[in-house]
């Protein structure tokens, strides 16, 4: 039994050695809902310029709750998210704090930030319609509302209605019309689906290429990611099989969402946190976002990447305040259940 005792001792030592004390250093700590590989280049650039070390934990859920329960001792300074949902949730729970920064207020348009400065959008994306080049004529579909038209029966693909990107779109339908309208729209859209909602946004475009459907809902940046995909060149073909339709250009504009950031309530390195968010909203970082990930810079006047310029050009984005959509997302989720969208 000697060996098992040694093992036990080793395990105990490992445990004891891992408890690390919070230390005051020139650093900034991030809890991030965005994947590391999407933001790493920017964070490295920030460290290089400022000498501030960036520490990162990423995850797709639960980080907000971790922040909440760690309370005033939490090491986290910044909450970084891939969409507005968790930012709204964090604001409701009082986990993030207001920041008064002229730099941020000037860089970021009003509808992309919290009126009280508790969160800031850093990049924007549009939820657009991908239409088959072969089977859908130019101008045949122009609005989200038209997706409910029976002429598209069996011709539309989308990921789960419960996915946050779709919930956000449905929330905007509720905001621009009302709940009853949104429910009917969702039910009619459901009736038009070519298959049960599944896969991610790229998979829908792929399905258009494969002839499973003619229209697909998807975020705009996926187009750039597919068109420039050297590792899986077949994705270029998917992208080339579709036209991009930015809906509702004659009225409110295409639905927009953001990735964003907030400074936590008890941030131990608050100044560094604000510095980092300001860095991410500055032109240099905004350009990197656009080039690497084909997202739209939120900062007005940032030059678009060549790809965005060529394929997405100038379009009208919906300027409804995202803080208005936050509370409607739960309603949207219930509508999805009610019409059995995913069943």
């Amino acid at each position: 039994m000697k060996s098992s005792r040694t093992l036990l001792a080793a395990a105990t030592l490992t445990l004891a050695g891992t408890a690390s004390f919070a230390q005051a250093a020139n650093e900034v700590n991030i809890y991030s809902y965005r994947q590391a590989f999407l933001i790493q280049p920017l964070l490295e650039e920030f460290s290089k310029e400022t000498g501030i070390q960036v520490n990162l934990v990423t995850g797709d859920k639960g980080l907000l709750e971790r922040l909440e329960h760690e309370g005033r001792n939490s090491p986290a300074d910044i909450l970084l998210t891939a969409e507005v949902g968790p930012l709204y949730d964090a604001t409701q729970k009082g986990l993030v704090s207001a920041v008064q920064s002229d730099v941020l207020n000037e860089s970021i348009p009003q509808h992309y930030r919290d009126p009280e400065g508790r969160w800031f959008g850093l990049t924007a994306r549009s939820r657009i319609i991908y239409a088959s080049k072969d089977r859908v004529q130019d101008g045949e579909i122009k609005t989200y509302e038209e997706l409910a038209d029976p002429k598209w029966k069996g011709r539309i693909c989308t990921r789960s209605g419960k996915h946050t990107y779709n919930l956000s779109l449905i929330a905007s339908m509720i905001a621009h019309h009302d709940e009853a309208y949104a429910e009917q729209w969702l039910e009619d859209l459901k009736a038009n689906l070519a298959r049960k909602p599944q896969g991610n946004d790229r998979a829908q475009v792929k399905a258009v290429k494969e002839g499973v459907c003619d229209l697909a809902l998807g975020n705009s940046y996926y187009f750039g990611k597919m068109l420039t995909n050297e590792e899986q060149p077949e994705q270029k073909e998917w992208a080339q099989s579709v036209n991009l339709v930015f809906p509702n250009q004659d009225d409110r504009g295409a639905h927009m969402n953001i990735s964003g950031a907030a400074v936590t309530q008890h941030a131990p390195n608050r100044d560094n946190a604000i510095k980092l968010i300001e860095f991410l909203a500055a032109e240099k970082a905004q350009k990197i976002y656009a080039e690497v990930n084909s997202e739209f810079p939120v900062r007005p006047g940032t030059p678009n990447s060549a790809l965005i310029e060529e394929y997405m050009g100038n379009f009208k984005g919906d300027e409804i305040s995202l803080s208005e959509l936050g509370p409607l997302r739960a309603t949207a989720s219930r509508l999805v259940d009610k019409v059995g969208f995913d069943n």
């Binding site: 445990l15 934990v57 990423t58 329960h69 939490s74 499973v212 899986q232």
Partner: protein
């Protein structure tokens, strides 16, 4: 073989000794510590943001419940077929490849469910090679020209989960078959049973506790799976939990569904226990006669080989080959020094958690044996296994809550008394991850250790104790050597399980800390399987080596004893 509890249970000494009280206290301490995260989730359930049940019941609840039941039953049946069937074949018969299959049948266990789901989607979807070849062969143009089974479906999920979960049943059942007295089977054959009858009427009932433990592990893994059902858009209760939590901002409601799911699991386990309450069995030490496997020839041999080959082929060879192919095509882009640190993180965490789980499981099982009349302790030990049926991310919250509360209480006290802030001592450290692993997988080590220990006849305890050994000495000198094989099995299973664990690791990890699983997830979640192939392959490889080694050592114990 049948006997009442009263006569067999070891009766406590008339004068209580401090040493025994130690076992009792330790068991309670462990059970409570492990129960804390589950209790924390129950606590969350007390504070729903609003009542979700009205909405759920009128909309998707029936779908969730029925889908979950179908999923569990499907996976359980398929896993029993593959697991028990192959265990029986490799133990009782010799046929081409048998020696290989003995350990190869365990290999799919090293493949994480989320990885196999990605692999088969890549292979079987429209753009994949299988349908591509069919189209080329028959000249079909688009997906509207033909029918092909949809991998992203309930059936697909059942198949994927069964392929990676059946090894639980295989492992435990094979160990049980190996431990069974040969003379019993010989006797049954002498008394006129056919081979099938001997299997059905003697071996199977004796192996039933092991099979039951295996099936309950499989069922709980199935219930808490999110990766596969999410990817395949299967609406199970776990999908509903995450939806309520993340989309409806109602963590309390989500905790209620999770708690209800646990109740469901408890009912299942209790029913099974009641069903075999009548048959307690112990082995006398007569397993030493040589097991002579029947030699199969011709069609029977071919059938046996095929039966064992299928799960290995689909559950391991296919995904392993595809991952290797991806990894080798992109090796120069993928390889970095960081992989060594990811692998060493995975390895250390998993080994630490596995050893700890076994030690705790032995203490629990032995305390149960010493105090079999204490119903409350029995209940506490069983309760401590419940973490296994909880979705990983929910369990992670259950770990965060008590740890953060502890950290903040210590900090408060230190600030008040010494004006020093200690900050977070345990939260956000690898300790939190190891605790989550132990809570999650204690059910596995408990099951394996418990079923081994329960087969050691109480007369062993009586003999050792009457010869002057203390309870601890008896455990160390008599029981542990006897259940060595069971301990090894438990260690291996928990280790591999920890290597694959994803959701809790993601949420609980320290800053700038990656394991192989979190690295796989980073890219796989964006459907970039090629990029995560190397890390996925490493998980499988790190998992495979101990699987092979330990499987061989289990077989070796048997052969040595035979010799």
């Amino acid at each position: 073989m049948k006997a009442g509890t009263a006569t067999l249970a070891y009766s406590p000494p008339r004068q209580p000794r401090p040493r025994l009280a130690g076992w009792y206290t330790a068991a309670w301490g462990i059970a409570l510590m492990v129960a804390l995260p589950v209790l924390a989730v129950f606590y969350l359930a007390l504070f729903p943001d609003e009542n979700i049940w009205v909405h759920l019941a009128s909309t998707v609840l029936p779908v969730y419940v029925i889908t979950t039941l179908e999923l569990i039953i499907g996976v359980a049946l398929l896993s029993i077929l593959a697991g028990v069937g192959s265990a029986w074949l490799v133990t009782m018969y010799s046929f081409p490849g048998k020696r290989l299959f003995e350990w190869a049948l365990l290999l799919p266990f090293a493949v994480p469910a989320y990885v196999i789901a990605y692999v088969y989607t890549d292979l079987l979807e429209f753009a994949g090679p299988v349908q591509g070849a069919l189209r080329a062969l028959f000249g079909w143009q688009s997906a509207r020209d033909y029918w092909f089974p949809e991998i992203r479906s309930l059936g697909g999920a059942i198949l994927m989960l069964s392929l990676v979960l059946y090894p639980y049943i295989y492992l435990l059942t094979r160990a049980a078959f190996l431990e069974q007295s040969v003379s019993l089977r010989d006797a049954s054959r002498l008394l006129g049973c056919t081979a099938w009858q001997s299997f059905y009427r003697v071996s199977l009932p004796i192996a039933r506790p092991a099979i039951a433990v295996g099936v309950s592990l499989v069922a709980m893994e199935t219930i808490n799976d999110f990766g596969t059902v999410d990817y395949f858009a299967v609406k199970s209760l776990t999908a509903g939990i995450y939806d309520t939590w993340l989309n409806m901002y109602n963590l309390g409601g989500a905790a209620q569904i999770a708690s209800l799911m646990l109740v469901f699991v408890v009912i299942l386990i209790t029913l099974e226990r009641m069903a075999r309450a009548q048959q307690r069995q112990f082995h006398s030490a007569d397993r030493f006669s040589t097991l002579q496997p029947t030699r199969l020839t011709g069609a029977a041999a071919l059938a046996a080989s095929t039966f064992c080959l299928l799960p290995v082929l689909c559950g391991f060879i296919v995904p392993f080959s595809l991952l290797s192919w991806y990894a080798s095509s992109y090796l120069d882009q993928l390889w970095s020094e960081d992989f060594i640190s990811y692998a060493s993180h995975s390895f250390t965490l998993s080994l630490g958690a596995a050893v700890l789980s076994i030690v705790l499981a032995v203490i629990l099982a032995y305390a149960k044996r010493l105090y079999s009349e204490k119903r409350a302790l029995l209940f506490a030990v069983r309760f401590s296994s419940l973490g296994y049926a909880m979705p990983g991310a929910v369990l992670a919250l259950g770990v965060i809550i008590p740890l953060a509360a502890f950290d903040n209480a210590v900090d408060d006290f230190m600030r008040r008394t010494f004006d020093v802030s200690t900050g977070l001592l345990l939260s956000g450290t690898t300790f939190a991850i190891i605790l989550a692993y132990v809570v999650r997988f204690l059910a596995v080590s408990n099951g394996a250790v418990d079923s081994s220990l329960s087969k050691v006849t109480p007369s062993m305890d009586m003999a050792a104790r009457s010869l002057g050994h203390s309870a601890s000495q008896t455990l160390l000198k008599v029981h542990l050597p006897l259940i060595r094989g069971g301990l090894m099995t438990a260690l291996l299973v928990v280790f591999v399980d920890c290597m694959k664990e994803l959701p809790a690791t993601l949420i609980l990890r320290p800053f700038n800390y990656d394991t192989l699983a979190t690295f796989v997830y980073q890219y796989a979640s964006d459907e970039m399987l090629e990029r995560s192939a190397l890390a996925a392959l490493l998980i499988v490889l790190v998992g495979v080596l101990p699987v092979i080694l330990l499987s061989r050592s289990i077989t070796a114990t048997r052969r040595q004893n035979n010799g």
